[in-house]
């Protein structure tokens, strides 16, 4: 049960592989250690610190590997199951970053609960492990396992505060639907396997099934079923129904975890799978992607209109965002794969930062409510006149919203620019139309948020004055503002790492 056991199978994996795999190994090692730690002493502070430490090390390790150059080129194959390339670890770094943010945000939230929360951090680490396996996977089996590891741990997390109103509902919704989705995905994998006899992503594309017409349909259905499972996780329309409810019901840091870690990991694996299997040559699949992308753009943005609950709104907006992001899957030739990766990673980074920022603000407000023992959700109206009371926080919020809306000066715009480039190269005009219209509709709910923040005469029920407001870590906020602004204006400084 412990990675150390694997030393005996040294023939299967050489030293280089261990080095390359080290971040993931570190993570799993950390999980085991934290189990031991819990057994030794149940202390929330220690476990939180410890898991943060593990994540930081994982982050540093993967960064180090990225810069060391081992990963350049096609990547390193570690057993048939995993294949690590630079994109995997770029995603992993993003995942670790957001996990760090989640943990630091969780501390506040957990403080208000009178219980020991060892399993919380354990589950988060398990989620991250699942995500790490996803981004590294090169095989349907590992993908499936990562997927399930992610979902099962998340099921544990979404209903974490068992006594809260929505806990059971959220947990059930997520459990049943994600099990359903994974069943569909598995059926798809079974279809693909029964036809190709190969469970690995790597495929000889010359003999790929879509080259023979009779087999194409069956294979396409298999791929479609597989895609539906992933699309469920990415909450793409029309598999999006769970998203708003689960977002709303889950503890806010966990919502952030779902919005970022789970989605980044799933999208990475989707790209890996698509590009390795050459699905971009499969017209059926491309049609499905376009349809799903358009639906997501439209449905996500439309549903977010007039939405008052911020967490639901974020759920809807993320539906739309992953609809946009699907554009990178529609590539015309193998040469543009590298560019597609860069686009996706840049976009995901922008998305990640915006989400972290917005959810951290949501959390500060939630904290405020729970301190005043008015347990309720954060609504748009609660943010009235924020700009005039908590300037830095409001600026960050505005920046993030603009980033999501794709307005210049923010990373979101550069991300969108990448997507437009991608779409123009592959000449997918439908997607461009969808992107344009979707952005247009999107503005109709992003802008009101900003206006609310700027509202001068606050008539909200809650007046959060300066003295009794919780102090969101100001350094954190300013750091986020500067980062997102800097990358928005000088995207080169980020994208040079995405090569």
């Amino acid at each position: 049960m412990n990675p150390v056991d694997k030393v005996s199978e040294i023939t299967l994996m050489n030293t280089e592989m261990f080095i390359v795999l080290s971040p993931i190994l570190l993570l799993s090692f950390g999980i085991v250690l934290s189990l031991l730690l819990i057994a030794w002493q149940r202390s929330q502070k220690i476990i939180a610190l410890f898991s943060q430490l593990i994540l930081v090390f994982t982050l540093l390790l993967s960064m180090h590997l990225l810069s060391s150059g081992i990963l350049s080129g096609a990547g390193v194959q570690i057993t048939p199951l995993l294949k690590v390339d630079q994109f995997s670890y770029l995603s992993l770094s993003l995942i670790c970053l957001s996990a760090l943010a989640v943990i630091s945000l969780s501390k506040q939230v957990l403080k208000s609960q009178v219980e020991v929360h060892d399993e919380y951090y354990l589950l988060i680490l398990l989620v991250i492990l699942g995500a790490a396996i996803l981004v590294a996977s090169d095989h349907f089996a590992s993908m499936f396992l990562g997927f399930e590891l992610l979902s099962i741990s998340l099921v544990g997390l979404v209903g974490y505060f068992r006594e809260q109103k929505y806990a059971v509902e959220t947990g059930f919704k997520y459990l049943i639907l994600s099990a359903c989705a994974s069943s569909f995905m598995l059926l798809g994998i079974a279809f693909i396997y029964s036809q190709t006899g190969n469970l690995s992503f790597a495929i000889n594309s010359a003999t790929a099934p879509w080259h023979s017409a009779p087999l194409q349909l069956f294979n396409s259905i298999g791929v479609l079923l597989l895609f539906s499972g992933i699309a469920f996780k990415l909450s793409l329309a029309p598999f999006h129904f769970w998203a708003p409810d689960v977002y709303q019901g889950a503890p806010t840091p966990i919502t952030l975890l779902m919005a970022t870690v789970s989605k980044i990991a799933m999208f990475t694996v989707l790209m890996k799978c698509c590009f390795a299997q050459g699905y971009y040559q499969n017209d059926h699949f491309i049609d499905v992607i376009i349809a799903v992308a358009l639906l997501s753009m439209f449905i996500g943005n439309t549903l977010a209109l007039k939405q008052q609950n911020i967490k639901r709104l974020m759920a809807y907006s993320s539906i739309a965002h992953f609809g946009y992001l699907l554009i990178v899957l529609v590539i015309s030739a193998e040469q543009s794969i590298g560019f597609a990766w860069r686009s996706a990673l840049f976009y995901l980074t922008a998305y990640l930062l915006a989400n972290v920022a917005i959810f951290s603000i949501v959390i500060t407000y939630e904290q405020y409510f729970s301190q005043n023992s008015t347990e309720r959700e954060v609504c748009l109206n609660d943010w009235q006149a924020m700009f005039w009371q908590h300037r830095a926080q409001a600026v960050l919020l505005v920046f993030s919203i603009l980033s999501l809306a794709g307005i210049p000066l923010t990373m979101g715009f550069v991300g969108k620019f990448y997507l437009f480039n991608q779409a123009v190269i592959s000449q997918s005009w439908w997607l461009i139309t969808g992107l344009v219209i979707g952005s247009g509709i999107g503005l109709a709910y992003y802008l009101p948020i900003i206006f609310t923040v700027f509202k001068v005469n606050s008539s909200a029920a809650t007046h959060i004055t300066k003295d009794n407001a919780i102090k969101a870590p100001k350094i954190f906020i300013i750091f986020l503002i500067i980062i997102s602004f800097y990358f928005g204006v000088f995207p080169d400084s980020l994208s040079q790492y995405l090569l």
């Binding site: 694997k6 299967l12 799993s28 099921v155 997390l157």
Partner: protein, 175 residues
């Protein structure tokens, strides 16, 4: 030929039993009955596995699935009195109207899948070579070694999550 025919016949018989049993599971009123039907279904599937040349999987099906997982179900039902509910509190599910929509949806999906499978001209057939436990073992502890490790984490996750939900409401402890 007749031997093959009988194997084939056995397979289809087992398949039909599995289908009927599954239907009974889905439509059942009594929780315990439904669970027992599920056991029957799993056993029938195990027979299928065996006939398809996967004796190891068939064994696992019986031991782990029927033996362990289903027992977990029965245990939970009995322990926490979960079975009463359906018989007393949910009479609505009798109505045909409740079934009509989902059944239609299901049959639509089924028709599509069968259409696709039928039209795909998969000229593949099973052969009688048995993929035995050794092969499975070699593969499992060879290339799939990491999968085993990961599935251990999966079980751990299930364990922790299950523990978290099931543990009694408990206050106190050091923060």
């Amino acid at each position: 030929m007749s031997r093959f025919a009988s194997i084939e016949g056995l397979f289809y018989l087992a398949a039909i039993i599995a289908i009927v049993a599954s239907l009974k599971v889905v439509t059942g009123k009594n929780t315990v009955h439904a669970l027992l039907y599920l056991v029957i279904s799993l056993l029938a599937v195990a027979v299928c596995f065996y006939l398809m040349g996967a004796p190891f999987a068939a064994g696992l099906e019986v031991i782990v699935y029927a033996g362990a997982i289903l027992v977990l179900f029965v245990f939970a039902v009995m322990m926490f009195g979960l079975g009463i509910d359906e018989m007393h509190n949910a009479p609505q599910s009798k109505g045909l109207s409740l079934w009509a929509g989902p059944a239609f949806l299901g049959s639509l999906l089924l028709v599509e899948l069968i259409f696709v499978i039928d039209n795909s001209e998969l000229a593949l057939q099973l052969n009688n070579q048995v993929v035995d436990a050794k092969q499975v073992g070699i593969l499992l502890y060879g290339p799939y070694l990491l999968a085993v490790e990961i599935s251990s984490f999966l079980l751990l996750a299930g364990l922790v999550a299950g523990y978290h939900y099931a543990k009694p409401e408990h206050r106190g402890g050091r923060l």
